[in-house]
Symmetry: C2
Subunit: 447 residues, 2 copies
Amino acid sequence: MKKILVLGAGLVARPLVNYLLDQAAMTVTVADQVFEKARALVVNHPSGTALELDINNQTLLKETVSRADIVISLLPWVFHPKIAELCLEYGKHLVTASYVKDEMRAMDAAAKEKGLIFLNEIGVDPGVDHMSAMQVINRIKDAGGTIVGFHSYCGGLPAQENNNNPLGYKFSWSPEGAMLAATNDGRYMKDGQVIEVPGNQLFEHYWLVDIPGAGAFEAYVNRDAIPYREIYGIESTANMCRGTLRNIGYCETWDFLKKLGMLNRNMKFDFSEVTPRQVIADIINSTGENLKKEVAAYLKIPEFALTIKKLDWLGLFDDKKLDIGTCSVFDMFAHTLQNKLIYLEGEKDLLIQHHEFTAEYPDHKKEKVTATLINMGIPGGDTSMSRTVGLPVAIATKLIAEGKIDLTGVHIPVVPEIYEPVLAELKTLNIAFTERKTELTDSANTV
Amino acid sequence: MKKILVLGAGLVARPLVNYLLDQAAMTVTVADQVFEKARALVVNHPSGTALELDINNQTLLKETVSRADIVISLLPWVFHPKIAELCLEYGKHLVTASYVKDEMRAMDAAAKEKGLIFLNEIGVDPGVDHMSAMQVINRIKDAGGTIVGFHSYCGGLPAQENNNNPLGYKFSWSPEGAMLAATNDGRYMKDGQVIEVPGNQLFEHYWLVDIPGAGAFEAYVNRDAIPYREIYGIESTANMCRGTLRNIGYCETWDFLKKLGMLNRNMKFDFSEVTPRQVIADIINSTGENLKKEVAAYLKIPEFALTIKKLDWLGLFDDKKLDIGTCSVFDMFAHTLQNKLIYLEGEKDLLIQHHEFTAEYPDHKKEKVTATLINMGIPGGDTSMSRTVGLPVAIATKLIAEGKIDLTGVHIPVVPEIYEPVLAELKTLNIAFTERKTELTDSANTV
């Protein structure tokens, strides 16, 4: 009987816990600082235990880790170094869906020495993206090909029928993270040149992508893609880009929202005294008499522009006070987004992952290969986001428990020993990629 | 055995002809100027006959009409007065999906006298819109209610998964009709005031609509809604609007396309000599060196605006000659749209019809009632457009043949004798409305 400890009972935990509880040779302890959240996940399952655990309670945390065989941390990444150290101390494997940072990377030798695997980045993005990309890359390499172009896209969006808002986006949790990411710098490679996209121009630097079977979308640069040339072993590629997918019209509007100061964390107001309308008027130095017209002029767009209608729809021109006290414009905007762009019970999300490779072969044949995952949430059940993040974590944990993954050290799932069995099992859970190949003629573009 | 004559074997004919061929007590003759098109519809069905018929061949047309019991005209409406006159002469019922114009209306008394029905506007829009609206309106009236607000929306769009273009639209046939309609004047009533929308501002005067179960859309004014207060017997309403549904971003872009002169039919070029790029440069009086930037400046939008990307995607900045000879910018643009925004084999369309009523009752209770049809094309089979246009025509024809509709004169389907059985039969064919009711409090808006 392998004992699995799941730290954190948040939004992506349910499909993960259910998957592990379904395994015969396992017990699962779910620990959360809110006992009810943990209990709701294990319900009365005979192999499941719920535990109230404050992560800062070092004694209880140690005791809990020491009793497990494998620890899964769904906590924010800041806690991972601490958890990893305990795993080293007590000799436990660790699985997370988070990016590997320096502190984690530094434990590689120690983990190896103790015969442990610390497997990270095995959610959806990062995670499924790595696995599906590496599967195609290695297949192309095995066939004698060289990767000369690679674009990788990912987006979590509302399913079209639940996309009942003009911004084309919904939040599964608080919007602050996405709002902060809206000023991330980006970097990618195009025709051998490194292109830098400063955060303040992030949404001016977008392009259109056709996702076969899903429709047309916008993509903007997802942080720094350059390191992935090395991580994926495709130093040959002259084109390397990672993009975030959004519905058409997203980038232009978010650029205008930024220009209008909606992400300003320094400018504060007492929202029990002033309304969003008054704040907007204040920001653009207007009397507010003809606010829409003046905002349009401020943004240098026509009054009938879609962005003005979206601002209106969000309630930013409303003359109603908000019950949020004194806070920044950023906080007020986060509050607005959270109220207007939220998934309701029974609504479905849509997770898209799409890779485009250009491969060259020794006979000068060139081909474009695409691999596309289009996954929808289960109405009334788990979201696609929670399934595509949680299930790879769960599957990898099972494979480690069964000894089918027996690597040691700090890993991400870019090696066949990990990605092959995980992708095969995901397929049985209806999380599968569709691949398409086209031979490219000389005039066709490299991605 | 009733003999049905179908004039025209165009895009909406297939489901109609198939429905009629499935009826036991009917023979169906399909006549088209292209024999193959007619033959493809009847195939080898024992009750079906294909006929080559040039509509200007008066002798053959007369002979063909004289042999039928009911004539269905799917021809352009300009032919309908001529067909209707032959129907009067030979004593035949007539069914069309076209709007009733004065020439048709003028035959009302003559048709009545001969015991004939000339039933028009029984496609989808007009057609299904009338029927579904009248069913709700009469139900509200029967319950003692008064209609004080009515918005009606219709849109034929690509299904999301086949919406693989940033313009969010595809054409089932040539784009000229839609391009001409882009300059239609519009008229509607808001809070008792008539609002006129001049054609050149059509796409500046749009708003956002949430269609339950389909998503968020834009709507712009669909011609003159005022006459429908009388046609629908709701002179009580202070709000009356008919809108066309399009995907988000459509109106802004089409407004810019108009401002850029893409609908100009006077400006002509020899496209074997000049490219779209040169034409655009010529229109905005630019050297074309930095065309995107200059077009953006001309339209007073940022260079990163979505509209610029859409123009680029359409190929309007391409420096390639087109094989269309000398023609207007309008023709060049139609050619471009037809090449880029076309349904491919296996792609699905989506037909949405959505009504929003506000009803007031004697006890001052106010309610909002919506009726929504969301219909998808059958992959590899009939489009939603052809089914929702063709099937009501076919069903009405069958009901006339069976004597179950026995009205005489010129009609549109706003009376229960027509809409009740037709809507009931459409439901069995999966073309059905979902109704929703909400009681309105005083602060809630009237539609």
